[in-house]
C-alpha cells in the first residue's frame, strides 16, 4: 500500500467516524472495514478521538419502560445465543473485532490491563498489539491451538493480604468459567479443563478477579475485577 493510500485511508476512516459520508459511501466503507483490519482500526481510533464531544449533549432520560425492553432484548439475545435482528446494526463492533483479528499470529493472546495507574514497565515488546498508550498489562496470556493451557507471562497482580487472584474464561455468550487460582507474579502455565476448550475462541476473553482465599465461593467472580483482555488471533 502506498503512502498516499494510507493518507486517504486515514481521512476516509475519519469521515466515517464523523458520520459525514452519504449512505452508499458509508455502506461501502463499512464493507471495506469488515474485510480490512487496518482500516477498521483507523475507524475505531477516530471514533474514540471524536466521541468526547458527546459529553456536551444534554442528557435526556428515556421513558422508564425502555429499560425493561432493553434488558429483555439484551439478556434474551444472550441466552438465545444467536443474535439476529440486531446483527445488522453492529457495524462498529464488527469493525472493532476485525481490527483485533487483523493482528495476526498463530496463537490466541490476551492482554489484561490494570484498572488503576499503570506502572512503567513491560510495554515495548507489546507495541504490535492493541496496547493503549501508557498502560501496562496485568499479564500477557497466549493460548496455542488445541487450547490445552494458557501460557502466562509477566503476571503482575496486586493482591491484598486476604485475597487471591482467580483467572476466568468468558465465552462470547454465557457465564464466566473459572480457570482456577493463579500466581500473582511471574511466568507460568494454567491448564484449561477439557470441557472448556471449545469455549476458547476469538471473541472470548480472559479476566482476573480478586477473590477470598480458596477462590470464588459462588463459582462466579465476586471480587474486584483486576482486568479483562479480549482473545484475538495475533
Amino acid at each position: 500500500m502506498s503512502e498516499t493510500e494510507g493518507g486517504d485511508d486515514v481521512i476516509l476512516a475519519g469521515e466515517y467516524a464523523l458520520g459525514v459520508l452519504e449512505r452508499e459511501d458509508r455502506a461501502r466503507a463499512a464493507g471495506r472495514a469488515a474485510r480490512d483490519g487496518a482500516f477498521a482500526a483507523r475507524i475505531v481510533d477516530w471514533e474514540l478521538r471524536l466521541a468526547p464531544l458527546g459529553l456536551e449533549v444534554p442528557a435526556i432520560s428515556p421513558r422508564p419502560a425502555l429499560k425493561k425492553k432493553v434488558l429483555a432484548a439484551v439478556f434474551g439475545e444472550a441466552s438465545a445465543g444467536a443474535p439476529t435482528k440486531l446483527a445488522a446494526a453492529l457495524n462498529f463492533w464488527r469493525i472493532a473485532a476485525v481490527a483485533m483479528a487483523a493482528l495476526a499470529l498463530t496463537s490466541i493472546a490476551a492482554l489484561i490491563f490494570f484498572s488503576a495507574e499503570p506502572p512503567e514497565r513491560a510495554a515495548p515488546r507489546l507495541a504490535t498489539t492493541v496496547l493503549p498508550a501508557g498502560a501496562a498489562p496485568v499479564l500477557r496470556a497466549e493460548i496455542a491451538d488445541g487450547a490445552r493451557e494458557v501460557r502466562i507471562a509477566g503476571a503482575s497482580i496486586e493482591t491484598g493480604a486476604d485475597e487471591v487472584a482467580e483467572l476466568w474464561l468468558i465465552p462470547p455468550d454465557g457465564a464466566p468459567r473459572s480457570l482456577g487460582l493463579i500466581n500473582a507474579q511471574g511466568d507460568y502455565a494454567v491448564a484449561i479443563p477439557e470441557d472448556l476448550r471449545a469455549l476458547v475462541v476469538e471473541g472470548s476473553a480472559l479476566a482476573v478477579s480478586l477473590e477470598p482465599p480458596g477462590g470464588s465461593p459462588t463459582g462466579a467472580p465476586t471480587g474486584q475485577i483486576v482486568g479483562v483482555g479480549p482473545l484475538a488471533r495475533t
Partner: protein
C-alpha cells in the same frame, strides 16, 4: 463502599454481570439517549438506537481497552454510531418528529465523567485551533449526524469546500490531539 466507576461497571459487564449492566444502564442511558435524540430527532428511533447500542455494549464490553479512552467516551462512540446507522437507513427526505420539548435530565455529577471531561477539554482545545467556519462544519456534522451534502446545504457552502474543510480539520485535530493528549487531566 464508594460507588463503582463506569470503568468498573463495564469490567463487570464483560463478565456477564447482569446487575452491573442494569446499573450501567441507569447511570449512562440518559446521556446516550441525549446523544441519539440529538442526531435522530425522533424518540421512537432513538429508543431503537439506544437498544442497539446497549446490545453492543453487552456483547463487546470485553473489547473495551482501559487506558485507551474513558469508558464514557467508548459508550458515546457506540451510541452515536448506532444513531448514525439508523439515520442513514432512514434515507433521504425523511425527517424525525423534530420534537424539541425534551425534559432534560439532571446530568450526572461532574466527577462521574471526570476522565471523559478531560478528554473533552483536550478535544475542545484542538477544535478551537481550527478556523471558526471549519469548526462549525465539524461540530454540526458531529452533533446532528449531517452528511457532507447536508452540511453544505445548511451552511450555503459549496460541497467541495465543505469536504476540504472537514478533511483538513480532521487531520489538524489528529495532529493536535497527538501533540497534547488529555493534558486537562494534569
Amino acid at each position: 463502599m464508594a460507588e463503582e466507576t463506569i470503568e468498573e461497571l463495564l469490567a463487570r459487564v464483560s463478565l456477564r454481570d447482569r446487575a452491573a449492566f442494569s446499573i450501567l444502564y441507569d447511570r449512562t442511558s440518559a446521556k446516550l439517549f441525549g446523544v441519539a435524540v440529538r442526531i435522530l430527532n425522533d424518540h421512537a428511533e432513538s429508543e431503537d438506537a439506544l437498544q442497539t447500542a446497549y446490545a453492543n455494549v453487552w456483547r463487546r464490553a470485553s473489547s473495551f481497552e482501559r487506558g485507551r479512552a474513558s469508558a464514557m467516551t467508548w459508550l458515546i462512540a457506540i451510541a452515536r454510531n448506532a444513531a448514525i446507522d439508523a439515520l442513514r437507513r432512514r434515507g433521504a427526505g425523511v425527517y424525525g418528529d423534530e420534537r424539541q420539548d425534551e425534559r432534560a435530565s439532571d446530568d450526572p455529577t461532574p466527577e462521574e465523567f471526570a476522565e471523559t471531561a478531560s478528554e473533552h477539554a483536550a478535544l475542545r482545545r484542538c477544535l478551537d485551533e481550527l478556523e471558526e467556519r471549519q469548526k462549525d462544519v465539524v461540530t454540526t456534522a458531529f452533533f446532528h449526524g449531517k452528511t457532507y451534502a447536508e452540511v453544505a446545504e445548511a451552511s450555503s457552502t459549496p460541497l467541495g469546500t465543505v469536504k476540504s474543510w472537514v478533511r483538513r480539520s480532521l487531520l489538524k485535530l489528529r495532529e493536535c490531539l497527538e501533540r497534547a493528549p488529555s493534558e486537562g487531566s494534569a
